[in-house]
Amino acid sequence: MFSEASNFVKGVDTSLAVILGISIFFLIGITVVMIYFVIRYNKKRNPKATNIEHNNTLEILWTVIPTILVLIMFYYGWAGFKPMREVPDDAMVVKAYGQMWQWTFEYDNGKKSDKLVVPKGKAVKLDLISLDVLHALYIPAFRIKEDVVPGKTNFMWFEARKLGEYDVLCAEYCGQRHAYMISKLIVKEQADYDNWYINELGVSTDPPGLSILKQNACISCHSLDGTVLVGPTFKGIWERKQIIIRDGKEIEIVVDKEYMRRSLNKPNDDIVKGFNKGLMISYEDKINEEQLDQIIEYLKTLK
């Protein structure tokens, strides 16, 4: 009956089926009775109404029965939920970083991936870390979701049961490109996973500067091809003359290393004309001098 992509599908779908089943029964039942009464006791058929004040038996019944039913619903909800909070001791831990508007997954060797790759049949625990605002990591096929809250490490865990690729979405509104904060969960056999972990994780054919831009979610707002997203495009940005707004005044600057450092450290101080402030976090302690030089080398190639 259930296609069990994860160990939680059964519990969640059972609680959904129980509640929706009882609900549909009551919805149809009450609606049919209501329509029947309106027809049967129409003033043409029934010109004289009867006053019925109340009926104790009936009223006790329709209080007690729904109470029992909702307690049954509560039980199934709780039973399906309880294991979600009980992480097995041997679970493999992956850090999941959410930031506007990208997911990044960091494995125990410190290497990062923009896709979540896991072995089938092994418990995986995700430590959920936000770098800016609220997000929620949502894997619909696995029936799991948990908010990613800045200043607080939430967690979720699962065991993948079926090979394949699944959507990883953001379910908590996080600003302009919330709908595009999408990643993939890829479930591999253990051997394939090991192979990926050793040979592919963290390995990239990109120039080092581009890798840094990708890992820090820079390119989810600053495009490489001239498209205007949330911030100015990186294409041709190096040594470009730019009108910015500083302290409420328009001034013209040239994009050099000093300007870039300033923008990384205090992104809200200088705003390029036509864009909004308040959207970028400070990268002061996230990007060091060496990395900035690599980024600049790469930006020089984007003409």
Binding site: V12, S15, L16, I19, S23, F26, L27, I30, T31, V33, M34, F37, V38, Y41, N42, K43, N46, A49, T50, N51, I52, E53, H54, W62, P66, V70, M73, F74, G77, W78, A79, G80, F81, L134, A136, A141, R143, K145, E146, D147, V149, P150, G151, K152, N154, D167, A171, E172, Y173, G175, Q176, R177, H178, A179, Y180, I182, N276, G278, L279, I281
Partner: protein, 533 residues
């Protein structure tokens, strides 16, 4: 007391001119001023909603950019919640009919009542100012969740100040109604002989009075955070975003009952009036309003089931949420039982009441899915939630308001609308409504998150159906309003009691005179719904 005031002229005729409205102390005129303001904002909200649906008719960019879309859904939410649905029934029909149904000439504090209206207008002006000053309206969603709301460059400060001012309007109206109900009931009208609409307003008013200050202070804290960087909610300066969510929902869940209880009161009036028999289980309905108002304070945590609360807290909030469903279920059973052995006159207001029951049931039952911990984990913050609360708020409260409008229209304006056109409007509205919102529930079960500017291709078909539904609904709405506007000018004049109801407001003239009654109203023997056959 009333001897000096003419009962020949109705409350429209007794004084003319714009100042006689803007500074009136007459609860009926204040109710009507609320009506015009609230309906105007409702229409703005509807247009914003139609734009959202149009954007979502296909994946990718359709008519607006993502930031504009985010501002549209925020403004849609702020307008519909704070300017339409919270004030709607209490401020319009509560103001107009509560004193009449209690058999008195006005609310307890008429000047405070006028102040409430002016605060409403003041709050609305602030909300509109966000459109024209600074960097545009807020793009945070109506929940203003921190830390995004602290960081975004859009006009969050003005928006939350608007909500803050509107909160005072709501608090003062609540206070006014509580005192009115305690002090101004007609001689002989004990609490247990009071109309159920008054009971529902009584329960609502307590929530308005006690819960609204919490949102007021919370919104001020957002402003303080943005302006002074105090470090309350933004973790980058030492705050806690979860604290904001708790404070926000401690008000905003009870606020759901501010929106729903008056609607339940309307339905409790409409059904006996058209079934021509006594309401089944008067006390159960009256006291369950109070039970809902009370238990409703303790369920806010279900809005935060995925925010990382402890397992224990989630279990407690889940079970409490299920319990609040019971008094609501009891009311539904009572309404349906009231149709049993009635002599039912199927008129437009009753049709709205029946649609209310059907749609409110879907809204309520889908709420059970959200109350269950496991099921909620999957559908939390998806379109399932959007479908759910529109079924409760629009399919429930909105339809009850339209029902009330068609029920009391002849009393307020002294004329009757074209019933056939009204029924056509009703049918289109109902069909459109269900096409608009039912697909959202399925989209949610399929895993489409809410507040999505764009979506995966597999969600396309249901989004198209939903958008087409929004057009049908819009046509229904236009027909309904056009029919009523026409009736206000040219409708057939009616007497005191066109529906043959025994409720007290039908004893006076239509429209009523300034002090409501031209002769002393009489309490119905045997209770407010005891029809004699």
């Amino acid at each position: 007391m009333a001897t000096a005031i003419s009962t020949e002229k109705n409350f429209f005729e007794i004084k003319k001119g714009i100042a006689s409205w803007l500074f009136t102390l007459d609860h009926k005129r204040i109710g009507l001023m609320y009506f015009y303001a609230i309906i105007s904002f409702f229409l703005v909200g509807v247009i914003l909603g139609l734009l959202m649906r149009l954007e979502l008719i296909a994946p990718g960019e359709t008519i607006v950019k993502p930031t504009t879309y985010n501002q549209i859904f925020t403004l849609h939410g702020v307008i519909m919640i704070f300017l339409f649905i919270i004030p709607s029934i209490p401020a319009i029909f509560g103001n107009f009919f509560l004193p009449i149904m209690l058999g008195t000439d006005d609310v307890a504090f008429p000047r405070l009542n006028l102040l409430s209206w002016w605060l409403y207008v003041g709050g609305a002006v602030f909300a509109l100012l966000t459109l024209v000053v600074g960097d545009g309206p807020a793009d945070t969603g109506w929940t203003f969740y921190a830390p995004y709301s602290v960081q975004t460059g859009t006009n969050v400060t003005l928006s939350v100040l608007a909500a803050f001012i509107l909160g005072f309007s709501s608090i003062l109206t609540g206070l006014n109604f509580i005192v009115t109900i305690h002090r101004l009931r007609a001689p002989g009208m004990t609490f247990n002989k009071m109309p159920l609409f008054a009971w529902s307003l009584y329960a609502t008013s307590w929530i308005q009075l006690l819960a609204t200050p919490i949102i007021g202070i919370t919104l001020l804290m957002i402003v303080a955070e943005r302006v002074f960087g105090i470090g309350l909610f933004d973790p980058s300066i030492g705050g806690d975003p979860i604290l904001y969510q708790h404070l926000f929902w401690i008000y905003s869940h009870p606020a759901v009952y501010i929106m729903a209880l008056p609607a339940m009161g309307i339905i409790s009036e409409l059904i006996p009036s058209f079934a021509k028999r006594t309401i089944f289980g008067y006390k159960a309905i009256a006291y369950s309003s109070m039970a809902i108002a009370f238990v409703g304070y303790f369920v806010w945590g279900h809005h935060m089931f995925t925010s990382g609360m402890s397992g224990t807290a989630r279990v407690i909030f889940s079970i409490l949420t299920f319990i609040v469903a019971i008094p609501t279920a009891v009311k539904v059973f009572n309404w349906v039982a009231t149709l049993y052995k009635g002599s039912i006159d199927v008129q437009t207001p009753l049709l709205y009441a029946l649609a209310f029951i059907f749609q409110f049931l879907i809204g309520g039952l889908s709420g059970l899915v959200l109350a269950a911990l496991a099921a909620d984990i999957h559908v939390h913050d998806t379109y399932f939630v959007v479908g759910h609360f529109h079924y409760v708020m629009f399919g429930g409260t909105g339809f009850a308001m339209f029902g009330a409008l068609h029920y009391w229209f002849p009393k307020i304006w002294g004329r009757m609308y074209n019933k056939r056109t009204a029924n056509i409007g009703f049918a289109l509205l109902t069909v459109g409504f269900n096409f608009l919102y039912f697909p959202m529930m399925i989209l949610g079960l399929m895993g489409m998150p809410r507040r999505y500017y764009d979506y995966l291709p597999r969600f396309t078909d249901l989004n198209v159906i939903s958008t087409v539904g929004s057009w049908i609904l819009a046509i229904g709405l236009i027909i309904m309003l056009w029919n009523l506007i026409r009736a206000k000018k040219t409708g057939e004049k009616v007497g005191r009691n066109p529906w043959g109801s025994i409720s007290m407001e039908w004893q006076t003239k239509s429209p009523p005179p300034l002090e409501n009654f031209d002769k002393l109203p009489e309490l119905n023997e045997g209770g407010p719904y005891h029809y004699k056959h």
